[in-house]
């Protein structure tokens, strides 16, 4: 079990999303950055879809009620355990009673905390994701607050080994594994390259200047942005002629433009359908990068073909599969070394 001692800005339980209910208008929800979420789970030997804590900018203070294994991936929000800096993208053993807090955010916007075994929350419509607007899923359908106690499933065979190790080194509140995830996989949280975007279904309905400005100019992420969508401010975009669009599906990364002309990128908590013209569609491979951008930051787009976007996505997914295998063999090796030490 973990206990929330202080709430932070916005921390919620999320998994990879609630699928199969969008035809009833139930939004998909789920993590904003699926790469950081999955790697965090891989590091503690969980299934990719196990729920994690999505921590936004100013993190919570968390007390661990038992010895356990954790990992923190995604945005660098300066995690500390009992006052000592801990590394991101690593497997960490934490001792019962130790306290995790976050310092000054350094890079990125959202961090993911995974715990061995995974959080024990009810699945609503097959998902543990918190859908805050409808008060459904996650922990009581809401963001985490001071005093919440979140149970954890009894964890995997590995923690026993780490526990034995921990008894050898009594004074440390935590122990980090010596290996970490390669920077070429984690560096996506740091780059400010343009976001790659395909032409949206109504791209041609926009006037020439708007088509050009969308692909070339810079946009600022408005403070009114949230998990539902990032509202962008920059040059306003307009249609060749004013017209109503027939509502249809939108997906994670759809860029729609309401009549006042400021584009909105739809994100994890997006509505299932929309009636505003769609000027673009962000390449799936770049969605985790958007999740790590914060309100006030600038964003530019670069055109990419549908075929290239699909190739890049497959390349990244295959890279993650390899990483998962690599981590698994490391954990196994780790376990052997630990056993040998004891």
């Amino acid at each position: 079990m973990i206990r929330i001692l202080k709430s932070g800005l916005l921390t919620s339980i999320q998994d990879l999303g609630r699928y199969g209910y969008q035809k009833h208008g139930i939004i998909a929800s789920g993590v904003m950055d699926s790469v950081a979420h999955r790697i965090a789970n891989f590091l503690v030997n969980n299934a990719a879809n196990a729920p994690t804590l999505e921590i936004t900018l100013m993190g919570p203070v968390i007390e661990f009620q038992e010895d356990t294994l954790i990992s923190i991936c995604g945005g660098e929000l300066s995690p500390m355990i009992d006052g000592e800096h801990v590394n991101m993208w690593k497997l960490i053993y934490v001792r019962k009673g130790s306290e995790l807090r976050f310092g000054q955010p350094k890079q990125g916007f959202r961090a993911y905390l995974a715990i061995a075994g995974g959080f024990d929350v009810p699945r609503v419509m097959n998902s543990a994701s918190t859908y805050m607007r409808a008060a459904v899923g996650g922990f009581q359908g809401r963001m985490l607050e001071k005093g919440d106690e979140i149970p954890v499933y009894p964890d995997t065979d590995l923690s026993g080994i780490f526990q034995s190790l921990s008894s050898e080194i009594r004074k440390d509140p935590f122990i980090e594994a010596p290996w970490f995830v390669a920077p070429e996989i984690t560096s996506y949280t740091k780059t400010n390259e343009p976001i790659r975007v395909m032409r949206g279904r109504e791209f041609e309905l926009f006037d020439d200047a708007s088509q050009n400005n969308f692909m070339k100019n810079s946009f600022k992420i408005d403070p009114k942005s949230d998990r539902m969508g990032y509202r962008l401010k920059g040059t306003t975009l307009s249609l060749k002629e004013k017209q109503e669009i027939v509502s249809e599906a939108v997906t994670f990364g759809t860029v729609q433009v309401p009549p006042e002309g400021n584009p909105i990128i739809l994100l994890a908590d997006r509505q299932t359908t929309g009636g505003y013209p769609k000027i673009g569609q962000v390449a799936s491979v770049d969605l985790p990068r958007i999740a790590q951008m914060k309100p006030g930051e600038n964003m530019t787009f670069r055109h990419i073909s549908h075929a290239e976007a699909q190739h890049l996505y497959l390349k990244r997914e295959n890279q993650l599969r390899q990483l998962k295998r690599g981590i698994h063999s490391n954990i196994t090796k780790e376990a052997q070394i630990c056993t040998a030490l004891i």
Partner: protein
């Protein structure tokens, strides 16, 4: 009818049965949706039906591992499967023909844009209400928010454009108009529709299966209640 199949981003495929809102096109959408429910292909994650389109979300990684290196793109493979499904799309769904009554308290604080809709159409507020209640309504799709019905059959005389600047929070139960469409907001959400009234009914019922009170294909009748009746019915819903 010509059916148009095209990519929608890098993980979805769009099947378009027509370009304008009408019962015939929507019937094709519902027929294809029923076909997808029945066949539930493994490569499909889910689908989202709308007025004239069905968007199928698929898993490119699953397809790429399924077909190996034989095809350049998972999309092309998915497109072929969709064409096959469309060619076998002969099963007709039993239409349920339900009619569901939705009580609405029109105007006032519960329908702050009623005066805008009236002024926009050069009508009295009373005429807008009567016209709205007189419609022969069909639920074309559920979307945007849990259980949110997109309804056809509203008289164009009370059509009104969406708000230029969408509201950040619209209360649950709000009845709105956008263009020639009318609908009801099941939960508090941002949105750009003009609000003419509010219903005490719960359109989103997460504890039930399916979690939506209304389904595509349902008929709807709007009836009028007073603000007091709204309040007492709202109490009963709790």
């Amino acid at each position: 009818m010509s059916i148009n199949v095209q990519p929608f981003g890098d993980q979805a495929i769009l099947v378009e049965f027509g370009s304008s809102i009408n019962e015939e096109t929507n019937k094709e959408v519902r027929k294809f949706s029923a076909h997808l429910d029945a066949s539930s292909p493994e490569w499909m994650i889910e689908y989202i039906p709308a007025f004239t389109t069905v968007t199928i979300i698929y898993d490119p990684l699953y397809i790429s591992h399924q077909v190996g290196g034989e095809t350049p793109l998972p999309y092309e493979w998915a497109q072929q499967r969709v064409e096959e499904l469309l060619s076998k799309n002969a099963i007709d769904r039993n239409q349920t023909d339900r009619t569901i009554e939705i009580p609405v308290s029109y105007g006032g604080d519960l329908g702050p844009d009623l005066s805008f809709v009236a002024a926009h159409n050069k009508m009295s507020e009373e005429e807008v209400i009567k016209t709205h209640m007189a419609g022969d309504y069909l639920v074309y799709m559920i979307g945007f928010a849990p259980g949110f019905p997109y309804i056809g059959g509203m008289d164009e005389k009370i059509a009104a454009p969406r708000r230029d600047d969408p509201r950040l929070a619209i209360p649950a139960g709000s009845v709105g108009i956008a263009g020639a469409q009318t609908g009801v907001y099941p939960i508090e959400t941002p949105g750009g529709w003009q609000l003419i009234g509010r219903t005490p009914l719960r359109l989103f019922q997460p504890e039930k299966a399916p979690p939506s009170l209304l389904q595509a294909g349902d008929h709807i009748k709007f009836t009028r209640i007073s603000e007091d009746e709204y309040k007492s019915m709202k109490e009963d819903e709790r």
